[in-house]
Symmetry: C2
Amino acid sequence: MANAVLSVDPRTGEPRERVATESTPQDVDRAVRAAAAATQALADRAARADLLRAAAALLEDAAEEIVATADAESALGRPRLTGELARTCYQLRAFADVAESGAHLDVIIDHADPDARPAPRPDLRRYKVPLGVVAVFSASNFPLAFSVPGGDTASALAAGCPVVVKAHPDHPATSVLCARILRAAAVKAGLPEDVVGLVHGFDAGPELVRHPLTAAVGFTGSVRGGRALYDIACSRPRPIPFHGELGSLNPVVVTERAAETRAAEIGAGLAASYTQGLGQFCVKPGLVLLPEGPAGDAVVEAAVSAAVPSGPLLDPRMRAAFLAGVRERAALPGVQEVLAAGEADADGEAPLAVRPGMLTVAAARLAGGGEHQELLEECFGPVTVLARYGSAEERDAVLDALPGNLTATAHLAADEGGDGDAARLVARLSGLAGRVVVDGWPTGVTVAPAMQHGGPYPASTSGSTSVGSTAIERWLRPVCFQNTPDALLPPELREDNPLGVPRTVDGVHLPS
Amino acid sequence: MANAVLSVDPRTGEPRERVATESTPQDVDRAVRAAAAATQALADRAARADLLRAAAALLEDAAEEIVATADAESALGRPRLTGELARTCYQLRAFADVAESGAHLDVIIDHADPDARPAPRPDLRRYKVPLGVVAVFSASNFPLAFSVPGGDTASALAAGCPVVVKAHPDHPATSVLCARILRAAAVKAGLPEDVVGLVHGFDAGPELVRHPLTAAVGFTGSVRGGRALYDIACSRPRPIPFHGELGSLNPVVVTERAAETRAAEIGAGLAASYTQGLGQFCVKPGLVLLPEGPAGDAVVEAAVSAAVPSGPLLDPRMRAAFLAGVRERAALPGVQEVLAAGEADADGEAPLAVRPGMLTVAAARLAGGGEHQELLEECFGPVTVLARYGSAEERDAVLDALPGNLTATAHLAADEGGDGDAARLVARLSGLAGRVVVDGWPTGVTVAPAMQHGGPYPASTSGSTSVGSTAIERWLRPVCFQNTPDALLPPELREDNPLGVPRTVDGVHLPS
């Protein structure tokens, strides 16, 4: 008898409804085979674009139901979820544009040259083809934008890869609803509905990664869960690419001069950023390097005195982990709670609400490993660590001790712009992370071609991004055709470029 | 006492000279740390280009010694090695051009847009930065082009990554000589010589992959050795990308009509291709699907009657594996030796010479797994398997049973060009391999922007290519700068583009 998949209210911990049953190995096998059988239908780029646009339109049509369902399961609130849905639909349409333009095909054509040195050159034409079925692991904290209709799904479909999504147990009802809409969108676009499949349950994850027809994996989640699945992907008889976004501390450096000139603004900005979405963002600033002394103190004071939201976390397990994580960190020698995170106890709060908090510690304790190493690991939820440094050397020693990050942020004074020290700091941060932010906050990941959402391990398991147009590169591989008659080439590579895709021909880039 | 590294004459199996000692773990550590310390110096793209061009010039200056040494260790012959050196120098200069152009930086700039939907967009500027120290594993069969001064080294240096090369035991003297030249080229370009390091010995391989400062690996070699190192790369605390080219069968399909119209040409071409370099190429055609009946017979006859070279293989171990591999395959039920490969016994041959051979088998035996599966595994050396098919279905069933390949080739008749069957065959081959060749042979890998030398596993462990300009992508990761003042940006991302690199700005590609 298969286990029930329940939708749970995180505000109370009570089950809301029975949504599905956990997928058996047979269910997973069926879903992957059905997706694989639909691959050929996705070869048509125009149909893929139609699918993605139809999905966006149908999601918008169902906005009310989607937002209500997602809020009931995630407690993220309707305004945030309305915004997330808009972002999700924008993303689907942006990938429709990418698929249609053919820019992601990276077409390179080198005409034959019998006189080429050091050897005659045959006609060579390269473009990129889809890898096959992509397994997508939904994130807990974005029930839409990083889940069933999210960036991994959108980019994989745009690339021509069918997807099988592993639903996150925190929002199964939203997942079922969105999968139904995506499948309906496929039918609207004249494609088989099996270009999107959905599976549930813990055991379905490893099954999905092990399946011989799974060609690649997109994952957003914890270091522990992501690493376990990554290990499975690499140890298959035929290993497959695993694009996982696991964990990130997202360090922020505030220079002495910045603290002197902008303490109130920086403190308020920090409070807003680490508590946004109750700290349940992979780009939450989890470590802030602040100067010792009065200027740094003023930043702390501004951050402590800012009004911050309290509320329930995404699920009771996450809440327990947050409370334990804060307790353990606060108990370390030399750590002070300048704002105590913990259970919210105010009237009118949801029973499972928590309140944000901040810890401080001397930066010198962080560079040496040991028990304070825990402060350099992500603690999911509304808490951040303020590490006070006495010198640039002390600050840099902490940066050098950090694992990879999605983001790294510098707050500078206005007059530090042209300064060698500031340039060195920014360069150092670029060695730590996939995105460097200056005088801003890492929360808020813009969907744009230049975005990089991914960084050195454990921020991600590959050099790729999961947000922005180049996220599509994860699901493609190059194929070169040598000496192939025009009529036998895919249309994207034919001499007269009938589909008008951008190409680089004999070294010259030709836009579409 | 460290073990001696000996240079051995493959024509006789006798040691030639003592070249070095096997690297200890301390030696490996020293080499990687020295390379890591040289990383910053490589940040200057112009200096990298100078280094690569100086290396080409110095290698050419030493051509006589290099070719003589490589021939003495590899028995590949002076004409081939002279050509390989020319190719190697061409490749170094091609990557100098890439480094200089900045095309590999993939610069994308999205200007801030406060009115962007669904959210205001900050200024975002993305380019690619080098990963760090690259470990390069030399190939046995290309002592120059896929070894110390080869494509992995050239592309990594072009990307800004120092390299530590694991010398192949088949050509240690050539490796030492080339490493010395590359280090001298670095000094000429004003760079530290440690941008190129060299280590020797079996145990140095795993040490190099495990080293915490090793950031990525390039490998060319066997499935067994490559997979073992890949597994180490993936199981590190911080996994690193492993770009390995492991093994490939390189199937060739000859259609019925092609055999009818071009049997003599195809047979002669096949004989030349599978025996070129005594079959010691990763792109050797190892499986040829030929139609049953008189047209296919005529291809076999033409291939059998062609004059083929004999000679010594790269080393005695490889020779033993080749002879055993041929024996095992020939002993399978239904397999005939139409040209018996084995020890060469003619007068005037080198003592360890072998002669090429061909096996035939009914294609129907290959699709079902079982003992005939061995025929679908690469046998390194001058042997190929001719599988005779009775129908297109039988032929396609064999193709469907194949693992991934570097190349897949179709021989068609002139009138099959516009034919639906031929187009379907070419499309099917593109699903199997990184490069599809029509009416040609896979041997001969052109160094050109559109080249793809890599394919589905086990052809390679990643979607990347190890030949051609895009090979540089393996050693880079994207970094995005958000809201960063111009003076703090790397020059490649500054508004006025002082270095003139190609960029995509607000969706428009601007050549340099």
